[in-house]
Every structure is written in structure tokens, then in C-alpha cells.
């Protein structure tokens, strides 16, 4: 296998060679090497994936290749493009490389386009700068590019501003801009992380097609192992500024040789891991990792030996892969326990199948409409049908996942249940009390039993309050503690419950990592002894290994305290792992509902089918991806009949006439689609 790689390398010189790349920033009197001796090789037309969790140096590696670093950064090593060392080029010559020979697209299409310039103008800059195209010729070319990346009606879009486009469209514009200079290498830094899964599928497909047609090399930076499995020819895993494993995709998926990579895969929430705790990586990435004498992963590694802490391992060739670990080194392998059995699927623990008891929360006919007001008199000129008729029920100790893409109304459902937004119509019954008519003190008392955990643990805590104050706020508001001593005792207990040391209560939120902050948020919710917690994308902002920790914690708390969760998410893998029931939302309505395992294994509604098939998965296999074109329509003017009909591959005439009624499928499942009627 290694011979195959060798010969391929010989027959064709690589397009990009990175040798000993080191990027350092001044930090605390010295330097922090965020990228530390990275070697990479990209061939023409190849997709090379750079994988790792946040802070591992993968984006910094990309910025270093383009020399797009903030002032004060120091760059060392070699970056050769077709033999010429980019790090040695004068800045003016480097500018002829950027956008021309190497182009880059970024994670956040929302903020990566200039809001005050038209889309056409921003693409034109590249044509002007690198190809000398101006005027009509340039405009023709821009229209061609927009059409090439699949933007409908380019003649209209060319003169629009970024805020007039959807997220997926903006990323297409970014891609068109990158293609304008006809680059040999495209660097894509988490190009689909900010997008919904069906839009992600569109953009990934587009990148694949463009790369094939143009023979362009693609350096794909991602944290999503599913995207790697779907896109990459070769893969490198980064940890703490270094490459720890490099392999061809097939080898990478079959033999994960570095303990870190192995752990990463085990931390993925998947349906087949239901009922068992996810593997987590203890601790977090050390902050001054460049000063560690031994292996940087040693202190979090489950097979680390004394040797690992004394000496730093080299990147060693192993059967066509390269791995930075003593355990694969024949000289030392004997000192390590035999490699743990490959991550084999285990039977799901029964018990998740237990019959649902009487519901704790019952929602029926829930509607939330927001009036749109215009003009001096603020007349109501229309409505946003954010939530338009939702029914659901959750029993104590159960998890209902509410799934859907951004803008479908799932967060609004959560807020309406908590009465943070008053519903326009419908009923929300909690423990046989109608919440929608509850007011003042009565509502405030009831709120104790319903709590909320937010998506972004960075912005959902007041940065000027100490952890103790944050956690104790509910205790005080609900008069659940008598004095300060009792309060501190209760907060300490809560912090222990979520896996934090009680001493941290005197610190401020900024001193914690994302995962720790989310634990504090969970402690805050638990403080008032709730019975139902609405979790709004609680792990979306976290890395895979940290996500696993939080999911384990939530599952444990549910077992111990019989909590009910309404788990709002767009991540179907998390649903499969954690949820008992699932409700799939599209444009304000639930289109399919039922036991999570059954719905995910055999989705019936065409939208659920598309959603499930669009998730990039690690397992190989000929899976048919159901392609959805276009963006979801606006909730201001939902399409007549079934809202999904305009994008549905099976839509018939009657779909446009009426919204399909509920069709029961047995075993607590139902769907709203004419395919299953009569």
C-alpha cells in the first residue's frame, strides 16, 4: 500500500508541499507555537481533509499557507507551490498567488462577504485583479460563474447585496468568488459548518463537481468525520498544532491508529450506541502544548506509558499511513497493551423501549404568529407563521427531539412552551395545569419546573456575574434557600452534580471552556429542581469529544432524576443516540413524529427521508442521497397546501391544494403526507 503511494508521488510532483510549517504568536513574554512542524503534500486534483477539534491549528495551517496571519505572527518552514517557496516570496508576489493560484472560502458565509458591496462587485474584484477583466466582459464572466455555482436567476442576483441572499446562496457566491481566479488549489475552511444539512449536501456536491470539472486540488478543513468520509481522498488529523495521523480515506476509516483518532470516532453519537455512555476524552487540550516534552496527547490518552511523557513521538510510516504514536513503533509496541478491540457495534440496551407513561407535558394546536407591522401607524401588513399548529407530548424521564432546519420554528416552540413567548393559539398543559392562561405569581411558581439550556454557552451567561451568582439566581428568585451558607452548599452540590469542582463557584464565566460553561448552564437549570428541561441545541457549539461529555451528563441526569427533555436540534446523530421520540418540523408544522429509532431507520415523510439521507456518515455503503433543491420557503408566505410540496420529489397536484391530514402508521408513529393517506 505504501508502495502505491510512493509510485503515485514519483509519477507526478505534488502541487503543494508543506515542510516543518511553524506558526507562532507572541504570548506571555514568549511564543505560542499554534502550528508546530506540520508536513503535508497535496497532489493536483486531490481532496485532502485536515481534521481536528477547535484550537488544534487546522485553520491556522491554512492561513499560514496563504500568509494571511495577524500582525506579530512568526512563520517558519517551507510552503512550496509547484516548487516555489511561498514563504520566501515578497508580499507583492504573494498577492498574485492569493485568489489566483490558491483561493479560500470560509466557515461563515454570513460575515465573510462585505455587506455594502454588491455580489457582482465582489466577484469582479478578483477578475480585475488577476485576469484584467473589466466592464461587459467581466460582467459576462460573473454571470457565468454565478450560474456555474447553481445560483438561480444570476442576472438579478449579480446586483444584489449579501443580506438579500440565504446562507446557502452566500456560500455559493463565496465559491464563485474563489473560482473567479481559476485557482489550482481551493482551501475550504469548514465550508458547510454554518449551513443546514440539506444545504450542506448541496454545497458539498457542488464542490465535488467543480473540483472534478476543473481538476482543482481541495484542502478541506473540517471537524466533521462524516464530511471526511464523503469527500476526502486523503486525511490528516491534527492535535495540539501537530499532525498525529495521515492516511488515505479507506485506510483511515478502517484502521484508526492514533489513540486520539480512535477516541474521536468513539465519541460520535450514533443510533447504534443508544443507551450506552459515549466514549469521551478526559480533560481538554493543554494550553501551552508546545512546551510539553513528551507526546502532547499523553495526559488524555488511555494507553499512555511512562515513555510517552518523556519523549515526543515522530510521525512514523505504518502500512501506508503515518502515525505519531509510540504504540505503532515496532521498537516500543511491546510496552503498550494490545490495541483495544475495534469499535464494534453493541446491542442497544433495552429499556429505552419502555412504554410511555402519562404525559408530563401536552401541547396541542400550538400556534405562534408574529405580526409584521409597517408604516407610521404600524399597521399589520402580514404575519410570520413561525409555529402553525404543533402537537406533542412528553412523559417524565423521556426525551422528545424536535428536529428541523434553521427557521422552521423549533426554537419558537420551545419558548412558547415555557411561555417566554405567549402562543397565538393552542394549549400547553404541564402536569395538568394549562400554562397559556397562567399569569403573574402563579406562572412564576410554575416556571420553576420548566427550565431552559441554550445553544451558546458563551453568550447565555452574564460575564460580570460569578458562577455562584449565576447558578443561585433561580434559587433566590424561587426563595428556595434561606441564607448565604445554605446557598453556597446547594451551589456546591449542583456543581458536583454536573461534574465541576465546587471551588469554581467564585470564578467568572470567561475562565471556562465551552464544555465547562455548558455544564454551568445545566447546573443553573437544575438549581430549581425542574421536571422538564428544554435543551435548545445544547451541543451545537461544542467539539465532538466535549459534546459526548455533555450528552453523557444529560443522559445520566435523566436516569437519576427522571427529567423530561425537549431536545431541540438539527443534528440527527444526536437524535438517534439520545431521543426516545422525535418530531420533525418543516416551516412551522410537524410533518412526522414517532419513536426515534423507527423514524430514523425508516423515515416516511419525503422531507424526513431527505434530511436523514443528507447527513454525511462515517460508515461506507451505497446510500442514495435524496437531493433537495433550493431553500426552504419563507414562513411569511408559506406555499399553499403542503409546505414541502415545492421541494418534494413526489409532489402531486393535490399536494398544492390542501395540507395533508395526519395519517397514523401504528406504534405511536404518524406522518402528514398524502403518500400515506387512505
Amino acid at each position: 500500500m505504501s508502495a502505491a503511494i510512493e509510485s503515485a508521488t514519483d509519477s507526478e510532483s505534488p502541487l503543494l508541499t508543506v515542510r516543518g510549517l511553524t506558526t507562532a504568536f507572541p504570548a506571555g513574554g514568549g511564543e505560542l507555537r499554534v502550528v508546530d512542524g506540520v508536513d503535508l503534500e497535496l497532489r493536483r486534483g486531490e481532496t485532502f481533509a485536515l481534521v481536528g477539534e477547535s484550537g488544534c491549528g487546522k485553520s491556522m495551517t491554512a492561513f499560514s499557507i496563504l500568509r494571511l496571519l495577524p500582525a506579530g505572527a512568526r512563520l517558519d518552514g517551507e510552503v512550496r507551490l509547484d516548487g516555489a517557496d511561498l514563504l520566501a516570496l515578497p508580499e507583492a508576489a504573494m498577492r498574485r498567488v492569493r485568489g489566483r493560484r490558491i483561493a479560500m472560502i470560509f466557515q461563515e458565509p454570513m460575515t465573510s462577504l462585505n455587506p455594502v458591496l454588491t455580489v457582482g462587485r465582489q466577484i469582479q474584484e478578483v477578475l480585475e485583479r488577476h485576469l484584467g477583466l473589466r466592464g461587459r466582459v467581466a460582467r459576462e464572466r460573473i454571470l457565468e460563474l454565478l450560474a456555474e455555482v447553481g445560483i438561480p436567476d444570476p442576472g438579478k442576483r449579480i446586483d444584489e447585496y449579501p443580506h438579500q441572499l440565504s446562507g446557502g446562496m452566500k456560500q455559493r457566491v463565496m465559491i464563485a468568488m474563489a473560482l473567479a481566479g481559476e485557482p489550482e488549489l481551493l482551501i475550504a475552511d469548514e465550508p458547510t459548518t454554518a449551513l443546514d444539512v440539506t444545504i450542506q449536501a448541496q454545497v458539498l456536491r457542488l464542490l465535488q463537481r467543480l473540483q472534478r470539472e476543473r481538476g482543482m486540488a481541495l484542502l478541506l478543513i473540517t471537524h466533521d468525520l462524516g464530511v471526511v468520509a464523503q469527500m476526502a481522498d486523503r486525511v490528516a488529523v491534527m492535535y495540539a498544532g501537530q499532525v498525529v495521523e495521515e492516511a488515505r480515506r479507506e485506510d483511515f476509516l478502517r484502521h484508526r491508529r492514533h489513540p486520539y483518532t480512535r477516541r474521536l470516532f468513539q465519541a460520535l453519537p450514533e443510533a447504534r450506541r443508544r443507551g450506552q455512555p459515549l466514549a469521551t476524552i478526559p480533560g481538554s487540550v493543554p494550553s501551552r502544548f508546545d512546551r510539553i516534552p513528551g507526546c502532547r496527547f499523553a495526559e488524555r490518552c488511555d494507553i499512555a506509558q511512562p515513555l510517552c511523557r518523556e519523549r515526543a513521538p515522530e510521525l512514523l510510516p505504518v502500512a501506508g499511513q503515518r502515525v505519531r504514536c509510540f504504540a505503532v513503533d515496532p521498537r516500543f509496541a511491546a510496552r503498550f497493551p494490545s490495541p483495544p478491540a475495534l469499535d464494534v457495534a453493541t446491542e442497544a440496551v433495552p429499556g429505552s423501549r419502555q412504554q410511555a407513561a402519562t404525559p408530563l407535558l401536552e401541547v396541542s394546536g400550538l400556534k405562534v404568529h408574529f405580526p409584521i407591522r409597517r408604516g407610521l401607524l404600524k399597521r399589520e401588513v402580514g404575519r410570520v407563521y413561525a409555529v402553525d399548529g404543533v402537537d406533542m407530548a412528553i412523559a417524565a424521564g423521556r426525551t422528545l427531539a424536535l428536529v428541523g432546519e434553521s427557521g422552521c420554528g423549533k426554537t419558537t416552540v420551545g419558548k412558547a412552551i415555557l411561555q417566554l413567548i405567549r402562543p397565538t393559539a393552542g394549549s400547553v398543559r404541564f402536569d395538568d395545569t394549562e400554562l397559556t392562561t397562567l399569569k403573574g405569581e402563579a406562572l412564576r411558581r410554575r416556571r420553576r419546573e420548566l427550565q431552559l439550556v441554550f445553544q451558546d454557552p458563551f453568550s447565555s451567561m452574564n460575564p460580570r456575574m460569578r458562577v455562584e451568582e449565576i447558578v443561585a439566581e433561580g434559587l433566590i428568585a424561587q426563595k428556595m434557600v434561606r441564607d448565604r451558607r445554605e446557598r453556597r452548599e446547594r451551589v456546591a452540590e449542583l456543581l458536583r452534580q454536573v461534574g465541576l469542582r465546587p471551588e469554581v463557584m467564585d470564578r467568572y464565566p470567561h475562565e471556562f471552556s465551552g464544555g465547562q460553561r455548558q455544564r454551568i448552564c445545566i447546573a443553573r437549570a437544575l438549581a430549581v429542581s425542574p421536571r422538564l428541561i428544554v435543551c435548545d441545541e445544547p451541543t451545537s457549539a461544542l467539539d465532538v469529544s466535549v459534546q459526548a461529555q455533555i450528552l453523557n451528563l444529560l443522559a445520566e441526569l435523566q436516569r437519576e432524576m427522571g427529567l423530561a427533555y425537549l431536545f431541540i436540534t438539527h443534528n440527527l446523530s444526536v437524535v438517534g443516540y439520545l431521543a426516545h421520540e422525535v418530531a420533525v418540523m418543516y416551516l412551522g408544522r410537524v410533518v412526522e413524529q414517532g419513536p426515534a429509532e423507527a423514524v430514523l431507520a425508516d423515515p416516511r415523510h419525503p422531507y424526513t427521508q431527505a434530511l436523514v439521507s443528507a447527513v454525511p456518515r462515517v460508515e461506507e455503503g451505497g446510500r442514495e442521497v435524496i437531493r433537495l433543491e433550493g431553500d426552504p420557503p419563507s414562513p411569511i408566505a408559506p406555499p399553499p397546501g403542503c409546505h414541502f410540496a415545492p421541494r418534494c420529489p413526489w409532489a402531486e397536484a393535490r399536494c398544492q391544494e390542501a395540507y395533508p391530514p395526519v395519517t397514523a402508521l401504528g406504534e405511536g408513529r404518524w406522518v402528514r403526507c398524502f403518500l400515506y393517506g387512505d
Partner: protein, 308 residues
């Protein structure tokens, strides 16, 4: 864009009407008898009655307001007590001086502030940054009543380059414009620097650099226009103040503008004239603010076209 204009203009009209009513009420807000205050206690009863009739104070309030508004529509602001001539004439005579000074000061401010702010932001923490911010601090801290005489001392009395005071030819404009302009430049440079620093760390600046644009192009095409938004706000507010007449600077340089006129009118208890000056200052403010909104919309398509 058109509907945006229309709604702005409508709002402006409402504000102007409100301002007019308030200014009209001004003369009735003077504690005691306004006529007595204007003429002094020793005035004869007949004179008081004559003045009361001349001002129309003997008629019902709503009739007075109607007259005032009707007069305003005709461009008639009444007679000045001191100058014994129509107020409109006096204002039209003084207004060009103020507009001229405001425009010159604005020019000075922008010419100084933009390079200074941009330099400071682009070379953050360098010697350029420190020099620019040092100048800015000085500009903000030095009051105009000290800056003005200092400039007169150096450039008029010692060097003899510019006239000491008055308004005769372009040379006489230089010192007052510098006095007002440097103070304004100091604020603007500081605003621009902080706005630019924020914009320069935005993702789309990185995108622009990744396209292969030079720093200069990135600054001109991508950063400045976005950074201009907060600066325009401050500029609008300051320009409103300038158009209302810079009282201190106009006094120091005996510049025959609206500011000086207002001061004189107050000293001479020429209430109809004070009323008119206040009205003019308010109108200038409102007009400049409306203009600011329009410029805003022109610079930022998100305002012009509505958030998508």
C-alpha cells in the same frame, strides 16, 4: 429607496412642526411679563402697550400661533426690536457667513481626521498611532476660547499671515475654520480609528485579503465604507452644531454669523430675534440629521433595502 425617502421626509415634517410650536411658545415661557423684561421696569405704560400690540401679545394664543405659522410660510419672521428691520433680512445676511465657516471647518476636519484615523488604525500601536491619538487628545482637550486666541497670537500678531478678526476675504476664514476644524477632527479621528479597528477584524476583510488585494485596496474599498457609518453619525451631530453657529469661535474672531447674532440678540433682549435664531438652529439640526439618515442609507444597503 423612494419609500424610505418619503417616510424620512414625513417624519422630518412632523419634527419641524413640533419645533416651531415650541419656539413659538418660547416667548410665553419667559417668567413674568415679557414686555416688561424687554423694556425694563422704568418704561412708560404707553410704550408697553405699543410693544404688546406690535408683538400681538394682546390676542388669543391660538390666533398668535396661526399668525406665526402663516408668517413663517410667507418667510416673515417679524421685526427685530433692536435693528428695526425684518428678521428674515438679518438672518439672510448672517447665514452665509455661518454656512461658509461650517463648510470650511468640516473640510479641515475631514482632511485631517481621515488620514489620521486610517493611519492610526492600520498601524495600530505604532508611533503613527500614538502621534495621531496624541493629537486627538490635545484637540479634544483644548477649548476653542483658548485655541482661537492662540492662533491669533501666532498667525496674526507674530507672523501677520491672517487678519485678526472680521470677515473680509478668504484669508479671514482660515483661523476660525482651523479652530473649529481641529476640535472636530480630533473627535472624528478617534471615532474613525476605533470603527476601522473593528471593521479590519471582520471576516470580509480576510476574504478581501484572500483575493489578493493590497492593503490599500482593502482599506479603501472594503474597510472605509463600513467604518464610515458611526463616523457619519457623529459628523451629522457636529455639523448641526456648526450650522447653528459656533458662538464661542464666532465671538473670538468677531465672525458675523448666526452664533454671534444669537449672542447679541440675547444681550439686547431682542426676543423676536432670539426666537428666530433658535428656530433657525433647530431647523439646521433637523435638516442635517435627515441628511445624515439619507447618507446612511446610501452607504449601507441594509438600511436602504431593509434587512433581508
Amino acid at each position: 429607496m423612494l419609500s424610505f425617502f418619503a417616510s424620512r421626509l414625513l417624519a422630518t415634517g412632523v419634527v419641524l412642526f413640533g419645533v416651531t410650536v415650541l419656539v413659538f411658545a418660547l416667548i410665553h415661557l419667559i417668567p413674568g411679563d415679557p414686555v416688561e423684561i424687554m423694556l425694563g421696569e422704568s418704561a412708560r405704560a404707553a410704550d408697553r402697550e405699543a410693544l404688546r400690540a406690535a408683538l400681538g401679545l394682546d390676542r388669543p394664543l391660538w390666533v398668535q400661533l396661526g399668525d406665526y405659522l402663516a408668517g413663517l410660510a410667507r418667510g416673515d419672521l417679524g421685526q427685530s426690536l433692536h435693528y428695526r428691520q425684518p428678521i428674515m433680512e438679518i438672518l439672510l445676511e448672517r447665514l452665509p457667513a455661518t454656512v461658509e465657516l461650517a463648510a470650511a471647518a468640516l473640510l479641515v476636519a475631514v482632511v485631517i481626521a481621515f488620514p489620521l484615523g486610517a493611519l492610526a488604525a492600520m498601524y495600530r500601536d505604532s508611533i503613527w498611532d500614538r502621534l495621531a491619538m496624541g493629537f486627538s487628545l490635545a484637540g479634544v482637550s483644548i477649548p476653542n476660547f483658548w485655541m482661537g486666541p492662540l492662533l491669533i497670537l501666532v498667525f496674526s500678531l507674530w507672523l501677520g499671515w491672517f487678519p485678526v478678526s472680521g470677515r473680509e476675504g478668504p484669508a479671514s476664514l482660515v483661523l476660525p475654520a482651523l479652530t473649529l476644524g481641529t476640535a472636530l477632527a480630533a473627535i472624528l479621528a478617534r471615532m474613525l480609528r476605533s470603527a476601522l479597528l473593528e471593521v479590519l477584524s471582520e471576516d470580509y476583510i480576510r476574504t478581501a485579503r484572500a483575493k489578493g488585494l493590497a492593503d490599500r485596496e482593502v482599506l479603501w474599498r472594503h474597510a472605509l465604507r463600513n467604518a464610515a457609518l458611526p463616523v457619519i453619525t457623529v459628523l451629522g451631530l457636529q455639523l448641526g452644531t456648526l450650522l447653528g453657529g459656533a458662538v464661542i469661535t464666532e465671538t473670538v474672531f468677531s465672525w458675523p454669523g448666526v452664533g454671534l447674532l444669537t449672542l447679541e440678540a440675547i444681550q439686547q433682549r431682542d426676543y423676536p430675534l432670539v426666537q428666530a435664531c433658535v428656530l433657525l438652529i433647530s431647523f439646521a439640526y433637523v435638516a442635517v440629521n435627515t441628511a445624515t439618515d439619507v447618507v446612511y442609507a446610501w452607504v449601507d444597503p441594509r438600511i436602504r433595502l431593509g434587512e433581508g
